[in-house]
Assembly symmetry: C2
Amino acid sequence: MANKKLTMPVWNNQAPEPGTYRSIFKWGDPEEFKHPSEQLFDLIRSEFNLPDSHFEKPENEGFDLVELPDHPSLLDRKHVEAIENIVGEENISLSDYDRLNYSSGYAMEEIMEMRSGEIHEISDLVVHPRHTDDVRAVVRYCNENKIPIYVFGGGSSVNFGLRPTKGGITLVMCTHMNKVIELNEMDKTCTVQAGMMGPAYESALNNAKELFGTKKNYCCGHYPQSFEYSTVGGWIVTLGAGQQSSYYGDAYDIVLGMEFVTPVGDIKTHNFRATATGPKVNDILKGSEGTYGICVEVTCKIFYHQPENYVPMGFMFKTFEEGIAAAREISQGEFGFPGVMRISDGEETSMGLKLYGIEGTWMGTAIDLFGYKSGERSLFLMQAEGEKGFARNVAKNIRKICRKHGAMYLTGYPIKKWEHGRYRDPYLREDLGDYGLIIDTFETSVSWSNLHNLHQKLREYIKQRPHTMAMSHASHFYSEGTNLYIIFFTHMDKLEEYRRFQKGIFETIVANGGSLSHHHGVGRMIAPWMEEHLGKVQLDVLKTLKRHFDPNNIMNPGGQMGVDYEASDLKDHEWRIDWKKM
Amino acid sequence: MANKKLTMPVWNNQAPEPGTYRSIFKWGDPEEFKHPSEQLFDLIRSEFNLPDSHFEKPENEGFDLVELPDHPSLLDRKHVEAIENIVGEENISLSDYDRLNYSSGYAMEEIMEMRSGEIHEISDLVVHPRHTDDVRAVVRYCNENKIPIYVFGGGSSVNFGLRPTKGGITLVMCTHMNKVIELNEMDKTCTVQAGMMGPAYESALNNAKELFGTKKNYCCGHYPQSFEYSTVGGWIVTLGAGQQSSYYGDAYDIVLGMEFVTPVGDIKTHNFRATATGPKVNDILKGSEGTYGICVEVTCKIFYHQPENYVPMGFMFKTFEEGIAAAREISQGEFGFPGVMRISDGEETSMGLKLYGIEGTWMGTAIDLFGYKSGERSLFLMQAEGEKGFARNVAKNIRKICRKHGAMYLTGYPIKKWEHGRYRDPYLREDLGDYGLIIDTFETSVSWSNLHNLHQKLREYIKQRPHTMAMSHASHFYSEGTNLYIIFFTHMDKLEEYRRFQKGIFETIVANGGSLSHHHGVGRMIAPWMEEHLGKVQLDVLKTLKRHFDPNNIMNPGGQMGVDYEASDLKDHEWRIDWKKM
């Protein structure tokens, strides 16, 4: 399948014009780009069987200005005025652009919609609360007047978690409610407003000595790929997991207490790690995805900032099976966990060797020479951290276990390359999308004993579609299991085909014992499968809580998390719910 | 305060006669006893200011046979027959003895009641379900007929968790539902029936190679003082914590999934350590104390059985403050936790040196000589465990930190003595009770930053009563805080005085920022303070869940956990709720 060299397209390298669709769906910093490498471009051409002519002209680039004459705000002006009286006129917006912007996340489907000019339901009024009192007043007003409230944290939702399916207002948490309230060095905790963005939070902790006069500097321990465009509150209400979660814990583990504003009143949970005073309301609020109330403040466990103790490592295994066997032994070894743990299957390993620039180097040659076969071999990246002796002992055990499972040691080079690009991969989506290429991800929790079955079933499903790549890794580890994170990559420019394809993925997961989501949350995208996955008796518990906290169904209403509609609304899992008709 | 030597009483050394009150309230194995040492007895005499004549004759020993003509079973015979048809006649009992026995836990107040012949509310029918189908059928029948159901696990409740305040039936889980269902070595989990007792579970895991053909032997990691008389299901529904919890986690952390039978249907949660599919019903059921449904099956994380890696250690600090400072540094050190961590305040240290037989030995002398002053000094016991290198590194860090805080190393001797008696201290209560002496415990969670304040306030409250000892330790550690476990010891033989005294303890905790319970649960004893402690908005969430799972209020009804009564029922925190009148 040798291809004659084609000059790469001239990738877009311009910050999107303000006010355009592209400025909404482009990931991250407007001035930042990540273009496909030549290796990646060659791979695309060979894998996807696209003619050279395909790359002559980009399409659906979203350069148009957002103007939505057919989607006026439907909120009665008296309500607009009332909200304005609460937060001040500088903190509301009725503009088409703002209303679309704050109603959109980064699901592939949302991006495809915006590229093709399909406008989904959008907010009627964007509101930037200044503090908890504003949030409380807005919730009270909206509850009295039965106006839906949606919450925008950092905006990185990938499952329609921000979509205002019932209209109403959208509260933007990151604009003002983004400060550190207290760093308690004695308890090793930090209390922040829920709208604080990841980098600002991490920077405050990293510079704690200077900023807060503490004895040490700290770090937050939660570094999801969306780190730069997500909020502390968002991490918790969607049950996120960072890329170093195996050591630091998931957002679920890191949060200690929260303050919530709900239609039935405020809740401030105690900051106890453990109590025996009945089921914990703090737990009930974690992962509630805006359906029970609004998280305004969180108290999190923090960690020492000690990068000097990092022990980066990389290994190559003969097969994914061998790599997973080692990963299981590490996760169950009772010597503690490394921070990063990331093991790729055969197909992802091939891509990784290209992306990290290992293919073609002495290291790539050595891997070949030692008989680690392309397509089968499995790349395992790790980084031990924590106290120095702890990190060293973790590393020592890992090396021993990996050796036992026939791994070749690759030094810390590959993880350094990975780390460099860890937050940058999403930037690739714009270039690819300009040529109708989809790169999308989904993820599931799985027990060790079901991992290979589920992996195989998911690959079978994806690979039945011609010219479709499926790259998998496991990256969050527990004694009892891990997650599977699957990236599919293909040429597909019809929204309807995409939706149908995605439906099959969720069906495959549910039918084969994975969880519907490991750390992306439910949103509206996965909600239709919640009843089948959890069972009616369990979903009814979440629905009862919904009715309790939000008797007028104003909090993120219209299908979010599956708690305010009946399975019968779904007409045998129709692949697209018409939320408006609900 | 020198006392002339008094001959110790002849402590009771006879297994209680079957059928007597004493056979119910005596802790543990009928044939096992632990008598006060001479040192302890001398201390009792001097501290409590009791005349020699006080010890001439034991009182209220509970030698009478249980005969309750005034407390007949009030359950209609047609219901008795219906239940009998479900479980078989050999699995029900209407005897007075069984009805009292399975309605009683080990709260000091319950023991005092039985000693003084005060009979509380008791079960109308004792039922021993054989399997989940029995439980399901009984719950269905009782729900249809609105018959209350109480659940007896291993019977070690210390907060009236078993008290059938509304009559009805009591299900005894430990009789038949006590088997291992599956040991999954791949996932390092074990699924057991909820009624399995601690020692049987631990023994099965310790002998897994032989019993289940596994590659390794395992342990359960949960060793509360009630270990021998508590069930795996009971650990979880009361949110227990074992004496090695700092390393293994609390019951809350150990359980992965559960099967529950509730009036609205069965729930079997997925065995995922982490998912992002909304709030976790598994979490909601943890700590539900029989008020939402009945736990019939649990899947727990298990651990390698590797006692060869234990590193036992003991230290003496100049003060409790120094010891706590070291404990905090250890808990926040990010090198992992030891299993046992137990630090005693000044008063408990004095007692510990007596109980562990250190006083009067060369070690005791050395402690004195090096200037660790009696009454101020603080004993810290620890045991590192886990993988060998991990345990050694934990121990190394602990030694370094303790040295920094001025501690004297005491070898592993004191912890070995403690370990020997770890499950045996409750046996002391019978001898003491025979002479009107009370030794009782309560416990609370607390942040590091509030620990000394709460400790001082609780001591002030207890010590204002003359001739009352108050011994405290912290024994469950987290990065953010710990627990305080307070033992008070005094002469007090009036139930009413005891109840009033206890009320003051809970009031002191709530007023000073502790949690109402760290690991004993709520039961009926602490329930009256739940609303003040959690706030109405939070308690309302638990009440809503109660109504959801149990619309007819048949599951452990009558005040358990505070979820089925209103605070207004309490008449300004009357120190005793008349549950019958509710």
